[in-house]
């Protein structure tokens, strides 16, 4: 195998390629709309305002959100999670989170805990990445107000049993914040039917949009205090930040250029159908998983592919090989791009037994083909031979 391709298996970090319209929309927005949304009232401003509204409306359709004023734009899932956590929690609160959480949750929670504001309890997970629901039942305290759950692990692709977790939390009147970084656009999400209290998502992964886009859904019965205050284009005479959503949680000029791209990404998803995308990505994961399983010398982590239980992420290690080296050879010798290491989720690696070495992570996307996977598998067969020689 000497042919050097550029095969992208890092969609869990950021998706590529994007639908064609995603590339063009930001340029059109900059050239033809480009007014500062909410600020000046002229036609270019109004065009930007309409774009933002349309984007909220389209996200609302994707996630079945009733009140569009509860869709807040953020710069990525980390930003959305910070807005949610720091806007919701008050002194004395107790928070539950799972061992599969990303640093985007672990670090803000750690900082609030070290500051003496909150207390936290981690819900352990099985080696396959599923939260221990029996443990969860014992973990609530009278002051537990929030449960944070990673909808799907960026390390193993494990989809959390959301209905059971939400039911358990709501039985105790505890709100649930769902980190949908790996699931938005990849599997169906219905915030009303699933009774999700807050949903944090990023625009540049499964939603197929540009980086610097994302958002937070906040249910109507939750009032978050704003993390940022400043210009909104409304009530400008007052030094009190507006109460009205969505401006309450959106200070400063929004990334309308990026959101123009996000809108096209979500439009593409709605055209294809999320269910179709889910099936396609499950098929790719299953094909990849089964091929890798047959290679002696490769250890796979996380659950086997099964409908509705896994997103298109596969983690593995090769006996006798450093995962960073494997990633380097994949790119330098075969042109295959992936991610290696801890993937910003140290507790998940402790859970699956790969801390601190980490894993090689392969994340196909909607545009990946089985032929791409065949090439990747052949490359790994050769690397395994190299490692054992």
């Amino acid at each position: 195998m000497s042919e050097k391709l550029n095969l992208y298996f890092d969609n869990a970090a950021t998706s590529w390629p994007k639908p064609e319209a995603v590339y063009h929309a930001p340029e059109t927005q900059m050239r033809e709309a480009s007014g500062n949304p909410g600020r000046s009232g002229h036609t270019r401003t109004l065009e930007s305002d309409r774009l933002l509204y349309k984007t909220r409306e389209t996200l609302g359709r994707l996630f079945n959100i009733g009140d569009l004023s509860r869709v807040i734009f953020a710069y990525n899932a980390t930003d959305a999670l910070n807005i949610a956590l720091k806007g919701f929690l008050v002194k004395g609160d107790h928070v539950l989170y799972t061992a599969m959480e990303h640093n985007s949750v672990l670090r803000p929670l750690g900082s609030l805990r070290r500051g003496g504001l909150i207390d936290t309890t981690m819900i352990p997970c099985s080696e396959a990445g599923y939260a221990d629901l029996d443990y969860l039942e014992t973990a609530y305290r009278p002051n537990t107000t929030l449960l944070v759950v990673n909808h799907a692990s960026n390390v193993t692709g494990t989809i959390a049993p959301l209905p059971e977790i939400i039911k358990s939390a709501h039985n105790r009147k505890v709100k649930v914040l769902v980190d949908a970084a790996q699931t938005a656009g990849a599997i169906p999400i219905d915030v009303q039917n699933e009774a999700i209290d807050m949903l944090a998502f990023t625009g540049h992964k499964g939603l197929l949009g540009p980086t610097g886009t994302g958002g937070l859904y906040v249910s109507p019965d939750i009032d978050l205090k704003p993390l940022r205050e400043g210009g909104t284009g409304s009530q400008s005479e007052s030094d009190v930040h507006p109460e009205s959503m969505p401006e309450r949680l959106e200070a400063g000029t929004l990334n309308s250029t990026g959101l123009a791209g996000l809108l096209e990404g979500v439009n593409f998803i709605l055209e294809q159908g999320v269910e179709h995308i889910r099936q396609r990505e499950e098929e790719l994961r299953g094909y990849l998983w089964n091929n890798l399983r047959s290679i002696s010398g490769i250890t796979l982590y996380g659950p086997e592919t099964s409908p509705g239980r896994t997103v298109a992420v596969v983690s593995f290690t090769i006996d006798g090989a450093d995962c960073g080296e494997v990633g380097y050879i994949l790119e330098s010798s075969y042109g295959i791009l992936c991610r290696t290491g801890l993937h910003c989720a140290p507790l998940a690696h402790q859970t699956i037994g790969t801390h601190p070495e980490g894993t090689v992570r392969l994340s196909p996307g909607f545009f990946t083909t089985k032929k791409d996977i065949d090439f990747l598998v052949q490359a790994l067969v050769e690397i395994v031979q190299l490692a054992s020689s």
Partner: protein, 96 residues
């Protein structure tokens, strides 16, 4: 002298939502910068015919929109218009 009526909104979100909701309805309206003679939280207002303001208001309130204020302006060229604030009461939108 011509008279036009204006509806103002707490934020641009509701202004654009109003436009989106009304665009397929048989009303004559336009989204415009809020005239300086009106005080508003948000810089964009809906301008409409005064005969239709009640009907438009009803339609928007049915759609759970947050509205801020209602005004009638007597406009004459570029002169500062005469502003009459309207209030929402049991007769709908009318002079206070």
């Amino acid at each position: 002298m011509a008279s036009s009526c204006y509806i103002t909104f707490p934020t641009i979100f509701y202004a654009i939502r109003a436009e989106s909701i009304l665009k397929d309805q048989p009303y004559s309206f336009k989204m415009v910068p809020v005239p300086r003679s009106i005080s508003s939280s948000c810089g964009t207002a809906l301008r409409c015919r005064c005969e239709e303001i009640n009907s438009i208001k009803d339609y928007l309130l049915q759609s759970n929109l947050e509205l801020e204020g209602f005004y009638r302006l007597e406009e004459e060229g570029l002169k500062t218009p005469t502003v009459t604030p309207l209030s929402l009461n049991e007769r709908g939108v009318s002079e206070q």
